[in-house]
């Protein structure tokens, strides 16, 4: 356990460093000294606005979203016992996208678009669970198949909406689909959810380790499989719905971060889950900083950067682990 605290502490420091970088860097970059002075209450009015009103909420949102996606991905991979599972495998991002795009098409305020995305995500979850109910239990393969099919259906609806929208709304819709953190104003709901879940999975971690061996073995070892699986599915869906509501469907983080951490830290869920929260958050914060800065003053959507950054990193780790 001593090794665990060290690993988590290192990840914590990395996360803080990334957040500090993100808050200092931008169209008008501040030196570290300036950043500290703003964070402690002094600094010019423009600097304060930049750091406290613009960058801090965005950085915290990015961290929370990345953490939520990574933890949700890790949970899905344990539950479905499938390394290719990511948070969107049950059609969640598709449902949220349909909700958000429909709202955008009717020209409502951003808050309504987020709310619509959240409703769409939850609707998709209920739909998948409802359809996957066979005689008896929800087996992982049945759930996975239903999820893939429902996701394809949402994909078709998204294509329909894009085809029918007036041309001037398309850039906004495409940015949402690629994942874009700039609309995020209030990071606190997501942060609170993330912290809550991390505390919650601590007692669950041991049961999840056992569950990872298979439901039969888990039941034989005294884990109440059904309630645990239910709890974790609901949790993962909630996390993903919150993440997609804030930032659209950012890909790659939920799939790759758990794998990257497993290559380095092993497969104990008690360590992996909180580590995912921090590593996922740090990765998305870095990606968002790059997205803001790479072609400044122009902006890129962050989903583009996560894939471009993550793939080489993952391949490198994979190569090293051999």
């Amino acid at each position: 356990m001593h090794g665990y605290s060290r690993a988590l502490a290192v990840l914590g420091l990395i996360s803080l460093a990334c957040m500090l970088l993100s808050v200092s860097v931008g169209s008008a970059s501040l030196s570290l000294a300036d950043t500290f002075s703003v964070l402690t209450g002094t600094g010019t009015s423009l600097q304060q606005t930049l750091v406290l009103d613009l960058r801090l909420p965005r950085t915290l949102s990015a961290f929370a979203t990345g953490g939520l996606l990574a933890v949700a991905g890790a949970l899905m991979q344990v539950l479905l016992r499938n390394p290719l599972a990511d948070p969107y495998v049950l059609g969640l991002s598709g449902g949220a996208a349909v909700g958000a795009l429909l709202a955008m098409m009717t020209g409502v305020a951003s808050a309504v678009v987020s709310g619509s995305a959240f409703v769409g995500a939850l609707l998709s979850t209920f739909l998948v669970f409802g359809l996957a109910h066979g005689t008896g239990s929800w087996t992982p393969s049945r759930l996975l198949l239903t999820g893939v099919v429902v996701a394809a259906f949402w994909g078709a609806l998204i294509a329909l909406i894009l085809a029918m929208s007036p041309a001037r709304q398309l850039p906004g819709m495409l940015y949402w689909l690629m994942g874009d953190i700039s609309p995020a104003a209030n990071p606190f709901p997501a942060l609170i959810l993330l912290i809550f879940v991390c505390l919650l999975v601590f007692p669950l971690g041991r049961s999840l380790n056992v569950l990872a061996r298979g439901p039969m073995q888990a039941a034989a070892l005294g884990v109440s499989v059904r309630p645990l699986e239910w709890t974790v599915y609901i949790l993962a869906s909630l996390l993903t719905a919150m993440a997609v509501t804030i930032a659209g469907s950012i890909g790659f983080v939920g799939l790759i971060v758990p794998h990257m951490l497993r290559l380095v830290l092993g497969n104990d869920q008690r360590l992996i889950l909180p580590a995912c929260a921090m590593a996922g958050g740090a990765l998305l914060v870095l990606a968002d900083t790059l997205a803001r800065v790479v072609i400044a003053p122009e902006q890129l959507p962050v989903g583009v950067i996560t894939a471009l950054l993550g793939v080489p990193t993952f391949l490198y780790l994979l190569h090293r682990s051999r």
Binding site: G26, D53, A167, S182, P183, R292, P297, E298
Partner: protein
């Protein structure tokens, strides 16, 4: 005798290679091709709202038989049948109308789709007005192709005269730093090459993002904070929509917010590359005059 006949024969052959100018109406389109008609076009299909407006401005309103979606000006255009939108056109509907001229827009319509029409012998005239001269020339060209050369020419000159007058009026005016917002999510603006950017320059304004290479850059709010323009102008999402401007109230330190220089302009006047751009530019110039008074 033989040599003379031979020379006459050569001369006649040479004449065949010259463009038959008598009775042909020609205009050069945005792809540098000469579109020539033997008679004025009587059945015209317009494939963009801008093209529709320009056709009506050229005096060819009665000859327009169908328009694209969103063609809402002038009023008569709304009563015409629609054949689709941008690159989602109903080619069959267009063909059924048996047009003798199709007017297309370079950034809006798909060249690949319209090639099919050209293969079937329907002339397609492409428009891409990037400057005020381009708008005037488009009206003249369309007027010539539809048999209204003189009235069209007059309207085009009036437009250019109006623009020149504005330019003279504001030539020595105090420069006003402006941010023009095209969209909110992602935050989009225009550079100096775009028509709205040119209108800003006409009115003695200085577009804070005018130097960027892309015609329609997507920015972050941070860039606007850093540029700290004197005024923020927007067409909004259509109609009287001040929502985007009100979003800027979040940053009370912005010069534009502190002096209440947040202006809504009529989007249909300034965001369409048509003769109404003159009215749009006049409105923009008046807005900038208000800002100057407060500077």
């Amino acid at each position: 005798m033989n040599t003379l006949r031979f020379l006459v024969f050569l001369a006649l052959m040479a004449l065949l290679w010259l463009p038959v100018s008598a009775g042909q109406l020609c205009a050069r389109d945005a792809f540098d091709r000469d579109v020539c008609l033997t008679d004025p076009a009587q059945r015209v299909v317009s494939l963009s709202p801008g093209a529709t407006e320009l056709l009506f401005s050229a005096g060819a309103g009665k000859q327009v038989k169908a328009v694209s979606a969103w063609s809402d000006y002038p009023q008569e255009a709304t009563k015409l049948p629609q054949v689709g939108d941008s690159n989602r056109l109903d080619l069959e509907a267009i063909l059924t109308l048996k047009p003798d001229l199709v007017v297309a827009w370079v950034d809006g319509n798909s060249a690949a789709q319209l090639e099919r029409l050209e293969v079937l012998g329907i002339p397609v005239f492409w428009l891409e007005p990037r400057t005020f001269q381009d708008i005037a020339r488009a009206v003249e060209d369309l007027a010539r192709l539809t048999g209204h050369e003189n009235p069209g020419s007059v309207r085009a000159s009036e437009f250019l005269a109006g623009i020149a007058e504005l330019r003279d009026q504001y030539r020595d005016a105090l420069p006003v730093r402006v941010f023009y917002q095209v969209w909110h999510q992602p935050l989009m603006t225009i550079n100096d090459e775009e028509l709205i950017g040119r209108a800003i320059q006409l009115c003695g304004g200085d577009n804070v993002f005018g130097h960027l290479p892309r015609l329609v850059p997507r920015l972050s709010a941070e860039a606007v904070l850093e540029a700290n323009p004197d005024a923020i102008v927007s067409g909004g999402e259509g109609g009287e929509d001040r929502r985007w401007l009100e979003q800027w109230q979040r940053y009370p330190d912005l010069k534009a917010v502190a002096s209440d220089n947040l202006f809504l302009v009529s989007p249909s006047l300034i965001q369409r590359p048509t003769l109404r751009m003159l009215a749009g530019a006049e409105e923009l110039c008046q807005v900038l005059e208000q800002v100057r008074a407060r500077l």
